[in-house]
Amino acid sequence: MHTFNIIIDNMEVPYEGEKNLLELIRKANIDLPTFCYHSEISVYGACRMCMVEVNGKNTVPACSTPVSEGMVVKTNTKQLRNLRKMIVELMLASHNQSCTTCAKSNDCQLQAIAKQLGVDKVRFKQKVDFEPVDYTSDAIVRDPSKCILCGDCVRVCKEIQSVGVLDFANRGADSKIVACFNKGMGEIECVNCGQCVKACPVGALTIKSQVERVWDALHDESKTVICQIAPAIRVAMGEAFGFQPGTTTTGQIVSALKIMGFDKVFDTSFGADFTVIEEGNEFIDRYQNGTRLPQFTSCCPAWVKFAEQYYPDLLTNLSSCKSPQQMFGSLSKQILTKELGIAREDLVVVSIMPCTAKKFEAKRKEFSKNNNPDVDFVLTTQEAALMVKESGINFSQLRPGSFDMPFGFKTGAGVIFGTSGGVSEAVLRYAAAKLTNDTEAEFTQFRGDKGVKIGEVKVGDITLKMAVVSGLANARELIDKVRAGQVHFDLIEVMACPGGCVNGGGQPVSANRNSIQERSKGLYDNDKMLQLHCSNENPYLQKMYAQDLDPHNIHEWLHTSYINRKRIQHEEVPLSEDSQDKPLKINICFGTSCYVRGAQKLYNQLMAYLKEQDLMEQTAISASFCMEKCERGPVLKVNGTVLEHCTIEKAIEAINQVTVSL
């Protein structure tokens, strides 16, 4: 690589392959403000905050300008200062400035940059579009009036997660970001990962809070409220109280939760130890039988929904294990209620998770019994920190408390679940213990923050091909290769958030660019500090397997099933009024392919026939969009009977069969 020095604000700065001028300026310790630049997604160049002057004449955006030899860069001329201030003023003029009540207050970049640049007035006309706030999602709240159109959420969703449910609509001053089909976030293919919330510099995308619901439960004397905290919480929550990223504050968290009124505080890592055993057994079984490989992990709910939407054919390859959160929830509602002698309805299980998708997971139908969910409420790290603050607890000065037993005991394997590669490492430890009786074996090769980690591991005399991916776009790319037969693996760990749960959508917003690595390191340190490192060594777990679990309830309590979500369910559009209780039910596919193959003409003929036969009163007609029989269109359903390559003659015949019996 060709290296040289360039001048930035009178400093000589060596160029060492930085991908753009902005990176080099930041290396020179000048923090140019930006709204739309994130090193891990594509350069967008829209906020125009990072404009700099090059060689005394050109004013260019540093983010999209390559570094070249001989550059003399100024970041702070009068013109540039005025430009930046005015851009912030322009943003504020169309921003809903209800800052004091905004969930993002204090973490808001617009607020911070306005202060940093000394913007003390807005000279422009305040014009905000107060579109309704979208509360349809269990995980994410979207408030368009706060949006500054930086496009970060759009690119994160598209590029990091390959989901792409958000995009721009309209033009010019009417531009806005919409979820697909202008629907609510809860009605679309959003996997609830919350990476958009993390990327949003303002309060346009925030976490759906359950804080008030949890307070209500805590204040309800008739309820026993217990809490589980996920592995990744202990190394991140401290950041909300001034600790460095990665600092373990487990003891303070436990104490704070006890002060706030939780009856018991447990550890999700205990649930994770169960996951390791169940998933490990499942894997060994599949490996030995050579079936349903590769096995995919199933502890990440965003990944599970992603698979349900885009890879329904691979759902049988997903581990049937519930996630640690849900194993914990299920076991506590089954076993703990008995121990405490209380009814299921009187035990409230609250989890504190780094994750927004866990809110969605807890509400899945599979995870509740008689309308009572295994996990009642899910708080993110951010929400839990807010509750501590609201309680006035001086977090940093708390005497560390300890988890309650038995659900508070875990091995190191359960703790490293919180980072990408951790699940694989934990399962490998268990596999080694089970297959070779070696509880000391170390498998560190899947550590690190790379998005795709591939390798072969020897356990005893077998060699396992493994892949660890984080970020759903990485997952998609890898799975497509697996499906195409280009690569083969035995076990694939997938985490939706890049780096795993430590980087979850519910974690504290950090200004520290190394926070993810620091949090991961913190988890591995926790693992080291613990007595036991292999899940099967957990004595409480052993006891529970011996006393409470049998093959039947293991299946019911610890395993689950998945739904094919490839098609939007229940999206039939009624074409006739009062469609209920009509004896003749006709459903016609108006998907593109059927349309091209003459669905519209068929529909017209059908309507003419029904009118002619005076059957309109008895018929409910609806349209659907794609029954996935495209090559056999047009497709018509008459009272459930599917007619392919349907003609009006075929349709009449089917209708007559129904009407004969009327």
């Binding site: 160049g45 125009r48 999209s64 851009i87 169309s94 496009g151 010019g172």
Partner: protein
């Protein structure tokens, strides 16, 4: 496909054309079609059958007959349409109606008799029979537009008869890419789409890129208000566009081209598609073109209806099926363009000029125009001018010549012709600026215009008379760019919106002197800070009107008065007592009771109550109500 002999096609066409005594050319540009020219065309066909007068339809390739009937692309003088030209005399009929056709056949076609009623007339010369004598045409130098309006746009053979595809054949079979680039560089051709980047140099940049695949894109997303040059070329001479693209393709080593046409130009789309099909049929496009080993194919792509798609990177995104939003440059399209491949994007007029230049010789073309802006430029001449239409003049022509001679003078709101006494000329559309009388004798070229804060742009020339409010004009363009901004970058999206609010403040009487400062500061921010050319040039109309008409702005702001009376909110109505007949009609019409008085005392308007609706003025039969 074997090499087609262009000469044979040309000779056959000419020989056949020479067998006719006369030819009738009905203008079928969009303007004339809108005025019913196709009905006239069909009336000729119908009557020839009924009256037993043999008219041969050119496109049908029939033999025999006395007169050849053609429909052409835009003949330029849209205002006088529908236009019918009769050759070889060059008799030029204007405002022709279907009912006139019979008379034209009986008198002109049969006997060569001229129908006075249908001739163009001006004060100076009276009735003028021949196109070449009409000042609108006489003062132009139609070079790129030469065939447009004379030839049948849908007849590839006629294009070939006018030396069409000769240069493409030469470029494919006898020249290497470097030679083509050099030729175009020597001609001094600069991009006609706005920026004026030297075309030959641009091509050689892409030529040097190593890539298996390269693209040529013809930018036909013409969207400036009042501009229609590219539309006329695509409709009137589509083959010249294809030929230009083909030559450009050979120059950079591309084998595929896209024509990105506004979807609002259906006629252009139709004619381009036919032209591509015909050129494919004759082996000028496709594989083994002109019998060589080379191939070149052209796709006609309809735009998605956004002004911003005229911007190179947004246009590329649009072809790729993405939202038409500009991307930061670098990388430039010449390095990484359509589907990541080196891509040259040229404007329609630029490409259409290429075969013309090669045909006439680069040296001769370079001798036209000025030193740094060679050749000719088409302009869409509109606004308060006697003759509006599509014109072509050499660079260096002055406004005095364009407005006074070609345009036939400025027309005031009351209909009087005041010669060259214009107030301003907006040039270059929403990205351009305005020129005033002090620029009357400035030779118009790229560099002179840039120097005075305007630009050639795509070539819209809007002439404004003294009754025009310049603040309103600036606001109009601001409204346009605000609507057409893609919404991507903050300064353009929010900046144009706020500039519009601030302009409204002036027009509606809320502005203070601070408003003016803020406008200037914001305009600079938008200019410096925007991502693409649309934003960078969006404040130009405001900045240039502010420069040349600052007093008019101040009058609005300080005295809350619009000197032209165009700004309704600033109007102040008065009753001229000397004209008032005391009929009291105004008092009765006033919706807010702002007029009071009696037959004895006369009537007065209470300015505090008046809502400036103008109902009184409309009602008064004696023109006694005036705007102060």
């Amino acid at each position: 496909m074997n090499n087609v002999d262009l000469n044979t096609i040309a000779n056959n066409y000419t020989e056949r054309a020479n067998t006719f005594k006369r030819s009738v050319v009905v203008c079928a540009g969009t303007g004339c079609i809108a005025n019913g020219s196709m009905n006239i065309y069909h009336q000729f066909i119908r009557l020839s059958e009924e009256k037993g007068y043999k008219i041969t339809v050119a496109l049908k390739k029939e033999e025999g007959g006395d007169t050849l009937l053609k429909h052409s692309g835009c003949q330029g003088f849209c205002q006088m349409g529908p236009l019918v030209t009769i050759n070889p005399e060059g008799i030029f009929y204007t405002h022709v109606k279907v009912d006139d056709v019979e008379e034209i056949i009986e008198k002109t076609l049969k006997n060569g008799e001229i129908i006075d009623r249908l001739l163009f007339e001006n004060q100076e010369k009276g009735k003028i029979a021949h196109q070449k004598d009409i000042p609108f045409y006489a003062k132009q130098q139609r070079t790129t537009l030469k065939l447009c309006g004379m030839m049948d746009a849908e007849d590839i053979e006629e294009y070939i008869a006018h030396d069409g595809y000769k240069m493409a054949q030469k470029a494919v079979t006898q020249m290497n890419s470097e030679q083509i680039c050099d030729e175009i560089t020597r001609s001094g051709l600069r991009g006609r789409g706005g920026g004026g980047f030297p075309t030959g140099f641009k091509w050689s940049l892409a030529r040097k890129q190593e890539s298996e695949k390269k693209f040529i894109i013809c930018n036909g997303d013409e969207g400036d208000p009042g501009a229609f040059m590219d539309r006329c070329l695509m409709e009137g001479n589509p083959h010249s566009v294809l030929e230009g693209m083909l030559i450009a393709g050979m120059a950079i080593g591309a084998d595929e081209g896209y024509i990105y046409v506004r979807t609002e130009y259906p006629l252009a789309v139709k004619r381009l598609r036919k032209a591509v099909a015909d050129a494919n049929r004759l082996g000028f496009l496709g594989e083994h073109i002109f019998g060589s080993e080379k191939s070149f194919q052209i796709n006609v792509f309809e735009g998605a209806g956004a002004f911003v798609c005229g911007e190179e990177t947004a246009l590329i995104a649009s072809i790729e099926g993405k939202r038409g939003m500009p991307m930061p440059k670098p990388p430039f399209p010449a390095q990484k363009g359509l589907y990541g491949k080196p891509t040259i994007i040229n404007n329609v007029e630029t490409l259409s000029s290429v075969p013309v230049i090669l045909n006439m010789g680069t040296a001769q073309y370079a001798s036209l125009g000025t030193k740094k802006s060679s050749g000719t430029k088409t302009f869409a001449l509109t606004g308060h001018v006697a003759n509006t239409g599509l014109i072509e003049v050499p660079f260096g022509t002055t406004l005095r010549q364009i407005i006074g001679e070609i345009g036939g003078g400025v027309i005031n709101d009351d209909g009087t012709n005041v010669g060259t006494d214009f107030k301003a000329v907006q040039i270059g559309g929403p990205s351009g600026g305005c020129l005033t009388k002090e620029h009357m004798d400035m030779p118009l070229d790229y560099d002179n215009l840039l120097e005075v804060g305007a630009m050639v742009g795509s070539g819209g020339l809007v002439v404004m008379n003294h009754q025009t409010c310049m603040v309103q004009i600036a606001r109009f363009f601001m409204q346009f760019t605000q609507n057409e901004s893609c919404g991507k970058c903050t300064v353009c999206r929010e900046g144009t919106k706020q500039l519009l609010y601030l302009m409204d403040d002036i027009i509606e009487g809320r502005a203070t002197l601070e408003t003016l400062d803020l406008i200037e500061e914001l305009a600079q921010t938008v200019k410096i800070g925007s991502l693409c050319g649309l934003g960078k040039t969006a404040p130009n109309p405001v900045l240039s009107t502010l420069e040349h008409f600052r007093d008019e702005y101040l009058e609005h702001i300080v005295n809350k008065r619009c000197p032209t009376g165009q700004c309704t909110a600033l109007r102040s109505y008065e009753i001229d007592q000397s004209l008032c007949k005391k009929c009291s009609l105004c008092m009765r019409k006033c919706p807010v009771g702002a007029i009071s008085g009696s037959r004895e005392t006369g009537y007065v308007i209470d300015k505090n109550k008046c809502i400036k609706c103008g109902a009184c003025m409309e009602a008064c039969k004696f023109n006694a109500i005036k705007i102060a």
